[in-house]
């Protein structure tokens, strides 16, 4: 048994934050879509997976990781927008279950599409040359890339926050999640807003896929467990709350990491227990509004 030195705990904590960064990004996208459209995107894990595949593809094509970081979310977001316009939009007003179920079917199709395009084994992914190697943090060695990942997530979240707080589009998003009727009455083309928000949410999912690809194996099934984990985070944080998504993402990442150290067999179980507890004690999550979708 290894002794639990402060260094080890500290390193485990940093690991949890890096893990949580990906969770947070995914949850942000999911929450955005839910808050604005009240659609539970069951294909979110699939979009993450598509992002991972396309990220590698564009990186190989252009030779630049940075470029693929920009291109891939745009492409994934476009696919998301197509899905919203032709598949999800006809179902608004039919009750919350239908778009959820539709995205469930969509995930099946996306998974198979990637198999057809890129093969069943998946693609080998490697860390971009400049970001390889590990850094001595004083408490132990930590992969440089994961530090970059934490930084990149922070940047994206900051950018999103600025957009939502400071721009007109962000104002519409905030208003629309509170009261879609009024926003429409005030003359805003709500359909176009929904289209863009769905595109944005899926683009963020795709971005998290590109960022996560160097850290794990990229294969068509990678989105299935990620989806369940994203739900845990979104529920804990509060569906529709961006602050909640970020905080809960980091929290879940750290919980998973610490449980892996102290009681590794229960790591996966622990996050679902956390989810169940939150739902029973405070169903709206840490930052969600009470009564939302009650």
């Amino acid at each position: 048994m290894v002794e639990l030195t402060p260094q080890l705990l500290g390193l485990q904590l940093v690991t949890g934050v890096a893990l949580g960064a990906i969770y947070a990004l995914l949850a942000v996208g999911l929450s955005l879509i839910f808050g604005m459209l009240t659609v539970v995107n069951f294909a979110h894990g699939a979009f993450f997976m598509v992002g991972a595949f396309l990220g590698i593809y564009f990186q190989t094509l252009t030779g630049s990781f940075a470029l693929s970081l920009v291109i891939t979310p745009l492409v994934v977001g476009s696919v998301g927008m197509l899905a919203e316009r032709f598949l999800v939009r006809p179902l608004y007003g039919r009750g919350i279950d239908y778009p959820l179920l539709l995205t469930f079917g969509l995930s099946y199709v996306l998974i198979e599409l990637m198999r057809v395009l890129f093969g069943i084994e998946g693609l080998p992914s490697s860390t971009p040359a400049m970001l390889r190697g590990s850094v001595d943090l004083g408490i132990g060695r930590f992969p440089l890339y994961r530090l970059v990942l934490i930084g990149a997530t922070a940047a994206v979240v900051l950018g999103l926050w600025l957009m939502i707080e400071k721009t007109r589009f962000g104002l519409i998003i905030r208003a629309g999640s509170r009261d879609p009727e009024i926003v429409r009455v005030l003359g805003v083309d709500v359909a176009r807003v929904w289209l863009l928000v769905f595109g944005l949410g899926t683009a963020i999912a795709g971005l998290s896929g590109v960022l996560a690809a160097p850290t794990r194996a990229v294969n068509p099934e990678m989105g299935i467990t990620v989806l369940a984990e994203s739900f845990v985070v979104t529920v804990v944080g509060g569906m529709g709350s961006l602050m909640g998504a970020v905080v809960a993402g980091l929290l879940v990442g750290v919980v998973f990491s610490m449980t892996s150290l102290l009681a590794p067999e229960f790591a996966e179980l622990s996050i679902f227990v956390l989810m169940a507890l939150v739902l029973l004690v405070r169903p709206q999550g840490l930052f969600g509004k009470a009564g939302l979708m009650g």
Binding site: E121, R141, A217, E268
Partner: protein
Amino acid sequence: MSTLIPAPTPNPEHSTSHADQHADQHAAPQANMQATSRRRLLQAGAAGTVLAGAPFAINIVRAQGAPIKIGFPTPLTGAFSAEAQDQVRAAELAVKEFNDGGGFNGRKVELLVRDDKLNPGEAASRTLELIEKDKVDFIVGSLSAATQLSINAVTRERKVIFNSISQSDAINEAKDWSPYTFHEALNPHMTAGAVARYAFPKYGKKVVYLTADYAYGHEMVRGFERAGKALGATTLADIRHPLGAADYSAFLPRIQALKPDILVLCNFGRDLVNSAKQATDFGLKESTRLVAPVLLFTSRVAGGADAFEGVVGGTSYYWGMEDSIPAAKAFNDKFRRAYGGAVPSDYGALGYAGVRSVLQAVVNAKSTDSDKVADALGRLEYNWYKGNQFYRKCDHQSVQSIIIVESKSKGMKDKNDVFSVASIEAPSESNLRSCSELGHKG
């Protein structure tokens, strides 16, 4: 793949209508061809009458010439589809070889491939379908411990021979086993033992295990520890991770702190790719040697040279053996000829052997009866692709050689040249768990 769609069995009703169609086609009235066409018509009509009027004759012919059917459930979709497809290719090669050689008393063999989706429930359903609907004579297949146990549960109830071609310790145990159960592949105990006997003396005695938390992972650790005890190795920790985990970063700081000589990645396929990659990222390779019980050809190709650099592992077959083993060269050449220069993988070789052994047993037993063939199979001694092999009496485990390979990251001649053969452990019953330990009496 034509074998995905089962070939229709000859049927008297079908033959009749088929003959009628022919008769119509040939009846082309043309003035200046009248003589020939009339003759043709008469010929076709005669043939049609003979066929139509002799359903019993057809039946007798069918009984004598009816194909021998081998059911082949394997995960054509899902995480191991690449390996599964190689299994199918190699199995089809074995079937073709047998048929080209005349078959069994003129009876050809048919391979009925079914997708079990790597899902034990589906595997059981497909096996039921193969037995009840397609009336197969034998079953060969599987690509995971869970699915093979599932298939075995169905076949043993119905007394159908099942030759399993993937790893499992449980299938040898008396609880699951039946006289119709055969195990062509290696089991975790053998593989782990062989790798331990190679790696521990070479790289060090302080060992940490990063183990996939399911039966297969536990079995691997058990195999390593047992062999390790004899060599003086100590287990610093056995860290369990959830099966299919994508992110191993949560486990790596602890491993770093333990400073082992060897880190054994007791997992398989994609889990291995993931954990090897992330262990590399965390800089573990600077002080620790990475060892894997099973190093798949396809995993190595999918994971890439970087992640697997310096990793040592075990396998049932690597094409590169052809330099020293003539049987391997012969097998590789057959495969290359049939599949445009491609080389067989580890699971591919098992697909070939699994089918070929059963067919040889049919020839030896001069029958397709399950009991007679099981008896013949139990006594079979063979060398299909890597050296001499036979099935141990008490549990029908194929006693075979185990190959230790090291991943290459430089000097690779082509995309297939991914391993160098470090050592080959000769077949020996002492590498297996004892019959009594498995619960077999006598």
